[in-house]
Amino acid sequence: MKAQTRQQSGVTIVDVSGDIDMGTSPGLRKMLMESLKRTSRLVLNLREVRYIDSSGIASLVEVLMKARNMKKQLVLFGLNKAVQEVLQLTRLTTIFEIRETEEEALQV
């Protein structure tokens, strides 16, 4: 799993790729929590995520809850079938702000 941060129009975008599982999700969670401290809007590009398990989903939920507590915004975009299916199976599709493209995510 790799995660790289970039800035655009005052928004922090994190490009995530690879597999998010029990071994890699703690690192992603830590990185996202750190990024959240330095921005008011965090956008996650999940287009290159091949796999995510329940620990990865739990990490995203934790970051979302933290963002809400801090009155900040978390937006996801580029979800492929693998990610969408796990969100559907865990019935979490409605709690996240989800957009198809980066352009749409930046407009939220």
Partner: protein, 158 residues
């Protein structure tokens, strides 16, 4: 059996006399091995005729079961042994996980109601949602978890 086999090589039907198609993995309880198992289970499921969606789900369920063993039975210690037996019968795919860690909590194995802000419990929910049969046994000194998924059209949810 007429099925979409994804990218897996075309395999001849299993001759009845040859017995079930099976393989076994013995691995350390290290999360770095999860990707290796996912790859094997995904190819195995594809070769048996599960479509891409079912194959992703079966792989997810096996990954969640292994993660639970690593996290709960072995308390995130990476140097213990886990045995995974994969077996294809005529109408189903079976997985048996054996570990020698602490006994599982029956309350945790029974899928709990999903709470959107809960940080745990989703793995067990996923396993039960995806698999047709889930059975846990505590034997002397070991835990055994059995998962079964029926072939599309055989019976159950498949």
């Amino acid at each position: 059996m007429s099925c979409n086999k994804g990218n897996a090589p075309e395999l001849p039907p299993i001759p009845a006399a040859s017995g079930p198609l099976k393989f076994q993995m013995r691995m350390s309880s290290n999360p770095r091995l999860l990707a290796v198992v996912r790859s094997s289970v995904s190819e195995f499921s594809a070769a048996l005729g599960f479509d891409d969606k079912q194959r992703r789900r079966i792989t997810l369920a096996v990954d969640e079961a292994l993660s639970n063993v690593m996290r709960h039975a072995y308390n995130n210690q990476c140097d213990h042994e886990i045995e995974l037996n994969c077996r294809a019968q005529n109408d189903c795919l079976e997985f048996t996980f054996i570990d020698r860690g602490v006994p599982a909590d029956p309350a945790r194995i029974c899928a709990q109601p999903l709470d959107e802000v809960a940080l745990g419990g989703r793995g067990t929910h996923l396993i039960r949602e995806i698999m047709d049969e889930v059975r846990y046994e505590r034997l002397p000194g070991q835990n055994r978890l059995h998962l079964k998924k029926y072939m599309p059209g055989a019976r159950g949810k498949a």
